[in-house]
């Protein structure tokens, strides 16, 4: 089997959204993976966040859905980006600065979790393991960072795509409390 030509990274913001509505939203995500014939990739930080964060008992846990997806094989956790690769660590620094500027915050509040996915996206393209990378995140500054920074490393705009969860699959955008509208 050759390298995946299309690689899709899913961010924690989308998984949290899906995990909360396990029955419908998570199924929509699974269906999308099948239809696209891809295995969604999670960065180690994203996996740690959705599986390891202590969530107060008041909330029902959504983390089991991710573990099930890993077992079913339509999601997998990647290696960390290779920080020793100068382009990768540089794009992550740029992403940190980009997100800080967009958010009008200091760079200290932007941690590795926010930027790792941008590093992985660049690494995947630079290694030639994919022709196109899609980053799925509901965090707009992160999505913008990926879409605007990666072309600076010699890739075409169409090789890097940012989608929100709702753009990936309509069901992920739907509002489940329609009585108020």
């Amino acid at each position: 089997m050759g390298g995946d030509r299309d690689v899709i990274f899913v961010d924690s913001s989308v998984l949290i959204s899906c995990g909360r509505r396990e029955s419908t939203r998570f199924q929509a995500l699974a269906r999308e993976a099948r239809q696209r014939d891809v295995v969604f990739r999670l960065s180690p930080q994203v996996y740690a966040e959705v599986s390891g964060d202590p969530l107060p008992a008041e909330y029902s846990s959504g983390s089991s859905a991710v573990d099930e997806a890993l077992q079913e094989g339509w999601m997998k956790v990647t290696e960390s980006p290779s920080y020793s690769q100068s382009e990768v660590s540089r794009v992550m620094d740029q992403a940190r600065s980009f997100i800080a500027t967009t958010s009008d915050r200091s760079e200290d509040v932007v941690e590795k979790t926010d930027t790792e996915i941008v590093g992985l996206a660049l690494e995947t393209l630079a290694n030639g393991t994919a022709d196109r990378v899609t980053v799925v995140t509901n965090d707009i500054p992160l999505g913008k960072a990926a879409a605007s920074l990666i072309p600076q490393y010699g890739f075409d705009d169409e090789q890097i795509t940012w989608l929100t969860g709702g753009e990936l699959a309509d069901e992920l955008a739907s509002d489940f409390v329609p009585e108020f509208d």
Partner: protein
């Protein structure tokens, strides 16, 4: 201020009688329903909210007294509309705005367990702060990670409440 647990001594939670409806999700729901369905009757509210007619009458009356809603016709059955309220509440250093979005967010606790859990843990004041983050989140000027760090809550909890409040601020 990190609000790990609800701090019920904060402005919105001690706002006095005029803000009593903020603590009553069903009144908040009636206000929100009228805002989205101007001209609705008591009977429509009874059917949608599935509450006893007597209760709905009482709640609508309370909302009228507080000038959150008013009757919009002269005839029967009475039809009601919601006012676009905008109240500023200042207590010490804390300033909170009471807006239709905040009331809708409170109303959602009836149907949305995540909003309910968040209010239980962080109080109405915490919800108002989360709503401000949700506006920024939808505008694209904040990530769920940033909210988590600034509010000292887990990033999953931040993601959960931002996601739950998104439809409120997207209107």
């Amino acid at each position: 201020m990190a609000t790990k647990e609800a701090n019920w001594a904060t402005p919105l939670d001690t706002g006095g009688e005029a803000f009593e409806l903020l603590g009553n999700a069903r009144k908040a729901w009636i206000y929100t329903y009228l805002r989205h369905h101007p001209g609705a009757t008591i009977q429509e509210i009874v059917e949608t909210l599935d509450q006893p007619e007597r209760t709905v009458y009482d709640y609508v009356e309370d909302l009228e007294d507080a000038r959150f809603v008013e009757q919009s016709n002269d005839g029967r059955p009475a039809e009601y509309v919601a006012h676009e309220i905008e109240l500023q509440l200042v207590e010490g250093d804390a300033e909170r705005r009471i807006t239709p979005e905040l009331i809708e967010a409170i109303a959602r606790r009836i149907r949305d367990d995540d909003v309910d859990a968040y209010i239980d843990r962080h109080g109405l004041d915490g919800l108002a702060v989360a709503l401000d983050y949700a506006r920024e989140y939808v505008d694209g000027s904040v990530t769920h990670q940033i909210m988590a760090r600034e509010r000292d809550i887990s990033s999953v909890e931040a993601g959960v409440i931002l996601d739950a409040l998104r439809p409120v601020v997207e209107g």
